[in-house]
Amino acid sequence: MASGLLIHNTTIDKLSLGKIVVDNRDLLSNLHDNILGHILSFLPATEAVRTSVLSKRWIRVWRSITGLQFDDSMLYSGKRTPKEHFINYVNNTLSHLGDSSFLNFSLSLLRYLYDPSQISAWIYFILGRGVRNLRVHYADKVLLSSCSLFNCSSLEHLVLQMRCTLSVTSSSVCLPNLQYLSFSGIRLVSDSSSDSKDLTLSFPVLKVFEARGCEWSMQNVSIQVPQLQTFSIAFWSSLSNESSRCSINIYAPNLTDFSYEGDLEHEIILSNPSSIHKASVVIVFDEDRNDGMREIDAWTHMLLRQFHKVENLKLWFYKVPMHAKDAFADLRAFGRLNYLQINEVAGEALLNLLHNSPMLKTLVLLHGVFKFNKDLLTSASVPRCFHSCLKVFQFGGFNVHEHELSLAKFVMGNAAKLERMTITTAFWLKYSNINMEEVKEQLLSFPKCSTYASLEFADVNGLLR
């Protein structure tokens, strides 16, 4: 916010040490307009504009404001602002603004529904003022031209949460100063008149990229983000019947945190995935779509094999593992993985993952493991991480099934460094006639490979003593 900073050192000497409370002089009003304008930018717009009635000195001060926060659900003098008043108020405020460069603008419109062009008029006005931080929250549709948004090179921090279709006319977009981007509900489509179905998004100083509930209907999207550290993307299930799968290429050599949520309708290719330490993959597969069953294996596999250098991996698959038998076969080893969390998994897949994670310290199963053949573990070789690394095993969603008991037995009998195994029972067991004391005794009777391994029991409410 350097442009808000001006040197006014002359005033410093005029002010001796004094307490606001004790000293009766009005130190605040003596500050330069630019400083006051910046202070006011941290107030809700109504309160900032209201300072014009403090004293004669303050009549025009608010026009130097460097930021405005409008919120239509704010109480005003204990009352709700009617919609028409709010619109007039925003229009009025914007029309009185001085020429100072504008830093922050936030529109929180959660109480009323507006004409889509009304909101875009406000956004256009602000984009034209060289805004650096723009934040819009709105539950419904907004019409916005992608040109005016992507031509606003002053943007540093952009948060758009609204229903909006950005029709991109050019094949490349660049925001040179953007450091933080958070999109929610934004559709990116290529303009029907353009020939190219490819798009390059270039954000040279972007650190954080978040996109939720997005739909991208392009053939190829290339994201050039050399300084990106965090990438998080969540797609809505694709409703379109387009057969071609969109491919997203991410050039982010400094990326450390990666998060994906979706149905793999988009292929994600990381140009240099080895910098990623932490990866989270949530895949929700729509069973009604029969066509993709076989492909989901290969797609999952392709996404996962990019994370061979991660230390922390979260895999939440919904309705996938029943089909995805091969997703975990022939994976590259996760050479550095020490924390693995899985929501539900097939026995074969779990074994594959364990064999491929020689450094694994913590294994968390949130909802147990699918039924597997009891021969699976008797014939299995002991994964390398069991010899030297695995210390914590959290076994959630335990149903006291035979195969689950054999998995617990397998871990206890082979993990040489195991310190703690926590078994959390499924909620329904409370209402069953299974005698949990007997189950505990059975588990405790299993031979332990690690002499200092402790066994804990918990239900959904916490540890049981």
Binding site: N9, I12, K19, I39, F42, V53, R57, Q229
Partner: protein, 162 residues
Amino acid sequence: MSSSVEAITVLSSDGDEFKITVSAAKLSKPLNWMLEDVCFSDDCDEVPTIEVNSKTLVKVIEYCEKHAPRANSGASDSDAEELKKWDIEFMKMDVKDILFHILMAANYLHMEGLYDLACQTAADLMKGMTVSQIRKIFHIKNDFSSEEQEQLRRQHPGCSFD
């Protein structure tokens, strides 16, 4: 400047000497320019003066030293959280007494983080207050005549004058 220098000495406007590490001084653009200047080479005795009084400068340096490690190297989120908590505590202390001095010093020394923090703190003192409460807190004298007040009331129909 010599690369061996790790801390520099500056004078406050009251003439007191203060030490500030090079990495902390880099948080301020003018100080950074001074660093690049010859005045800190080993064979120079001249100590530059910073036009900030001693009481304020102590706090400014404290802020710089705390924030320097993060500013100079990308730090993790947990560090950022911790730093945010520290900032809140920093502004809670006796800083309130010298808030305006800190504000002007941060502005003068081009320190964005501290400037924003001080402005935010000042704004928090006004937030949710009525006009007359703000006048009282900051000793702002209401110099409007009753006719002018009437006129303003008409201009800002929603504004409360209480």
